[in-house]
Amino acid sequence: TTVISDQATDSDDLLIRQVVDDDHSLNAEHHFTKFKTTFGKTYATEEEHNYRFAVFKSNLRRAKKHAKLDPSAVHGVTKFSDLTPREFRRQFLGLKRRLRLPADAHKAPILPTNN
């Protein structure tokens, strides 16, 4: 940590602005190493490793964007962080449907919601 003192005056010298060294915490390589350890990820070749690292960096940016668009949730590195959105959809989603309910579906009766 460092203390920014260039603007400090007698009245505000008790106000200390803490500046955290973020070189390490924002370093994508560090995050990727931690990600591989946490989720037991290994890659067969160096090319694959480099490709996954590129995808991971892109997902870090995506998580940051999601955090801005969805501020009440926490977004970040997950076990899917080395997958492109397309790979993620193909491997982990699987709902075959357009936004339409079958015409012959039984409709649930309307239930009372008071009391």
Binding site: H66, P71, S72, F80, Q91, L93, G94, L95, R98, T113
Partner: protein, 231 residues
């Protein structure tokens, strides 16, 4: 309706499962709803076989060409309920364990443990969804999963989210409000059981705010009733 409600507290929800690299979310959503309905009908919580649905269910939606259940290549919860209705029921998880791969059907009718008596779709109304949840047990729902790839915790309430659904999950409860500091207010939310293992989200669960059909979560909601077998 109670302000907060959670079927997990009442013993109607099995542990979080993991679908692996297989697009079988629809089968987990369907079995989760039937597990809850079976619990309500019999008082017993049984973990049911998703692999049976992956291997044996090829039911198609008559309204939509090509919308057939196809194991790891995807499916629909309503089709799965139709399959269970037609086949007679579902085996236990331990009798027909999950492999995460498409396989040959080896369904054994003599080992059926839970059956469907009826299923229906719930209207696009948050109070009706809550009422059906409380009255009938956990509900099979579809959702747009775009924010779920990076989700770690908290109540997801994105400013923008498509209503096109691509993932099947299980609605197990709701909360009156969790404080969102950035919005300076409490936000009511749905509690959703996912099938990506416990090391995703909040111990395998996802919380999404209960407003304006966010991410299409109110659009395709199904409730199922379990049949009680008589000796």
């Amino acid at each position: 309706l109670p302000e907060d409600f959670d079927w997990r507290d009442k013993g109607a929800v099995t542990g979080v499962k993991d679908q692996g690299s297989c697009g079988s979310c629809w089968s987990f959503s369907a079995t989760g709803a039937l597990e809850g309905a079976h619990f309500l009908a019999t008082g017993n919580l049984e973990s049911l076989s998703e692999q049976q649905l992956v291997d044996c269910d090829n039911v198609c939606d008559p309204e939509e060409q090509g919308a057939c259940d196809a194991g790891c290549n995807g499916g629909l919860m309503n089709n799965a309920f139709q399959y269970i209705l037609q086949s007679g029921g579902v085996q236990r998880e331990k009798d027909y364990p999950y492999t995460g791969r498409d396989g040959k059907c080896h369904f054994d009718k003599s080992k059926i443990v839970a059956s469907v008596s009826n299923f229906s779709v719930v209207s696009l109304d948050e109070d009706q969804i809550a009422a059906n949840l409380v009255h009938n047990g956990p509900l099979a729902v579809a959702i747009n999963a775009v924010y779920m790839q990076t989700y770690i915790g908290g109540v997801s309430c994105p400013y923008i989210c498509g209503k096109h659904q691509d993932h099947g999950v299980l609605l197990v409860g709701y909360g009156a409000g969790e404080y969102a500091p950035i919005r300076l207010k409490k936000k009511p939310f749905w509690i959703i059981k996912n099938s990506w293992g416990e090391n995703w989200g909040e111990n395998g669960y996802y919380k999404i705010c209960r407003v304006r059909n966010i991410c299409g979560v109110d659009s395709m909601v199904s409730t199922v009733a379990a049949a009680i077998s008589t000796p």
